[in-house]
């Protein structure tokens, strides 16, 4: 076997140009496949990173009314939803896939927000529990986080994010300042920033709106203080951090299921009006916890790019097929050329099997070298394309291994016919062949 490989290499090297031309089809086919796969993988990684943020793995589970986030300020039906008790949070935390869990309340565009007679617009107010900062990936850049005592004792304290710090305090140190939320004075104790690892890549305006809905900035107060500002406790939203990226979807769904046990479904209206319209209306009004599955969106996008690229792989495979036929052609020529050699070997006692394996080895050594060159060319091509299009590429080890294995298979399949022809040569005719 080793001897055969050595002899094949010798043969290939002694016909350099012919061998190269024979391999060309395989090289082009494999290079195209590697380049395409690398670009697909690169695009997939980008999509994933953009949508879910590298190393983050957090899933938002928001209370939705129809297609929109439930906001007690604007919407009806709030009486159907109860506040989530801590026991639910403990159950979510106990899930295998869940690392951390936090419950929070949220109101967007809070209008009665003042600092020294200055009204602030577009502020998002969050009522947070002790787990929020860690789960949502916020760091306290200035000042301190809320203490346990401040949570328990309804202390009127607030954390602000950098946007608010910039727009409201304009260079002043915000720590220790008093802000007015719904007529109640809150002391700013710190400024929070998003941890860099939690920052998704922003490539477009759409991305910007996805991640920065709260362009006016965020103000965080202890969730216990919610009733001070808004007179009653509102149902919370939830953020969980999954143990790893792949379990995000499952973790989100499981957590949403637990939270939905808490939602009382209003069935009264659907019974009386039995029409599609009513059903649609009911669906619109339906309150439900839904995990915001970015991973699923990412997968959907990935699938889309993958299906277009699958077509390209098919086209590349055709090139590989043509390459294989080229190999077969040259091998047939080679068998004819070496008729005397085959005859001699048979006269010296080489069996059919020996001749067969010699030619098969030669064909597969030829195509696997072609495959290797193709892989290198493909990697080169992919990085050139990556530079031109400014998209990242991910060289997939799996694709490389499959390509090389596949090129060996091409060698065996297309080398079979010439090899059988060689092994069936009659030694007398072969020896006399001129």
């Amino acid at each position: 076997m080793f001897e055969n490989v050595r002899l094949s290499l010798q043969g290939i090297l002694s016909h350099k140009i012919r061998s190269f031309l024979t391999m060309l089809g395989i090289i082009i086919g494999i290079a195209a496949i590697i380049a395409i796969v690398s670009i697909i993988e690169g695009t997939k990684e980008t999509i994933k990173k953009n949508l879910i943020g590298a190393g983050n793995n957090t899933v938002q589970i928001r209370l939705m009314q129809g297609d929109y986030a439930y906001e007690p300020g604007y919407m009806q039906g709030g009486e159907n939803v109860r506040v989530i008790a801590d026991s639910y949070k403990d159950r979510i935390k106990a899930l295998d896939e869940v690392e951390r869990c936090t419950l929070y309340r949220q109101r967007e565009y809070v209008d009665n927000f003042y600092y020294k007679n200055k009204s602030l617009q577009g502020i998002t107010l969050l009522g947070i529990d002790a787990d929020y900062l860690e789960t949502a990936g916020l760091d306290v850049a200035q000042g301190v986080a809320f203490s346990e005592k401040q949570h328990k004792e309804f202390t009127k304290v607030a954390l602000i994010d950098e946007n608010v710090a910039r727009s409201t305090f304009d260079g002043e140190d915000p720590v220790g300042k008093i802000i007015d939320i719904s007529g109640e004075p809150f002391t700013v104790v710190g400024v929070v920033t998003k941890r860099s690892g939690f920052e998704p890549t922003i490539n477009s305006v759409e991305d910007y709106y996805t991640y920065n809905k709260t362009s006016g900035g965020q103000v965080l107060i202890p969730t216990e203080d919610w009733s001070i500002c808004f007179q009653y406790d509102e149902p919370q939203h939830c953020i969980i951090q999954a143990k790893n990226t792949d379990s995000m979807t499952t973790a989100g769904k499981k957590a949403a299921d637990i939270l939905n046990e808490n939602v009382r479904v209003n069935t009264a209206s659907s019974e009386t009006e039995d029409s599609a319209e009513a059903a649609a209306e009911f669906a619109m009004m339906k309150l439900e916890y839904k995990s915001e599955s970015l991973l699923e969106q990412a997968k959907a996008l990935q699938d889309l790019s993958q299906s277009t690229n699958k077509m390209l792989i098919w086209i590349a495979s055709i090139s590989l097929l043509v390459g294989g036929i080229g190999v077969m052609n040259i091998m047939l020529v080679s068998v004819t050329e070496r008729t005397r050699e085959i005859g001699l070997k048979k006269a010296l006692g080489a069996r059919k099997r020996t001749i067969l394996s010699q030619f098969l080895t030669e064909a597969s050594v030829l195509t696997s070298i072609g495959g290797l060159i193709g892989v290198l060319t493909g990697i080169g091509l992919a990085s050139i394309i990556a530079n031109l299009l400014e998209t990242p590429v991910a060289i997939s080890g799996k694709a490389v291994a499959i390509s090389v294995a596949f090129s060996i298979v091409v060698g065996i399949v297309f080398g079979l016919l010439p090899s059988i022809k060689a092994s069936n040569l009659n030694p007398i005719d072969a020896l006399r062949y001129e």
Partner: protein, 248 residues
């Protein structure tokens, strides 16, 4: 006895009609014999060699090689006989051009499944026997015709075969190299090798201990001597004539 041919017939099909090439050939060769088979081209001597070399099968008749009935052998068994019991020497050497002399000599051992180290040792030994130990790493293109044929002989004897079968071994060589090859054959025969040689040159055939003449596919005992004698006479006449012209 090395091999025994009894009433061998061989037909080739030309279209639908069988054309007889060998007719009732009977020949047996014992150990240590040195036989030359002579005949003009088209006489069937190559066909006879192919049958003796187990490269082809007779149409009818009995052929026993070293106690084995060749007619009953499978393709694979024939390969084994050729590999282990027959050493071939061809007119145009048939060396693998890209391999060194040593690798060429190793080839039959490779097919016999001899381990690498032993293969090398035995090949070197065979090359020493033909006096080419200093040319082991040369490629056939770097060797002269006589050297190539000696490499081929080394390859033929490396397996210590029962029979050395040579087909026009001097056909592609000049007289001097041809003589060297014949000298080598003679020595090998004296060492105990059984040799069957096919040739159409009377001078070469004379080196053998026993000469067999074949014509039109038949063994031709009686007339052979006259013909050989005639050839000899002609050769002598030519020589004297040449001497005469030289003297003149």
């Amino acid at each position: 006895m090395v091999f025994d041919l009894k009433g061998i017939y061989k037909d080739y099909m030309q279209g639908k009609d069988p054309v007889p090439v060998l007719k009732d050939i009977t020949l047996s060769v014992d150990e240590g014999e040195y036989v030359a088979i002579m005949g003009p081209s088209g006489s069937g001597k190559s066909t006879l060699m192919n049958i003796i070399g187990c490269l082809d099968k007779q149409t009818s008749g009995d052929f026993t090689f070293d106690g084995t009935d060749v007619m009953q052998c499978t393709d694979r068994q024939l390969s084994e006989i050729r590999n282990a019991k027959i050493g071939f020497v061809f007119q145009n050497f048939n060396l693998l051009p890209r391999q060194s002399a040593l690798e060429n000599v190793e080839l039959p051992l490779l097919y016999a499944g001899v381990p690498k180290k032993q293969r090398r040792e035995r090949a070197i030994e065979a090359l020493k026997r033909v006096g080419l130990e200093d040319r082991m790493d040369f490629k056939p293109t770097q060797l002269s015709g006589g050297q190539k044929q000696r490499v081929a002989i080394a390859r033929a004897i490396v397996n210590k075969p029962r029979l050395l079968l040579a087909d026009e071994p001097t056909g592609a060589l000049d007289t001097k190299s041809g003589d060297q090859v014949m000298e080598l054959f003679k020595e090998l025969n004296e060492e105990g090798a059984t040799i069957v040689m096919i040739t159409h040159e009377p001078d070469i055939a004379k080196c053998a201990k026993r000469i067999m003449y074949i014509r039109d596919g038949q063994i031709y005992t009686g007339a052979f001597n006259t013909r050989a004698a005639q050839a000899e006479k002609e050769a002598q006449a030519a020589e004297t004539k040449q001497e005469g012209t030289e003297q003149a």
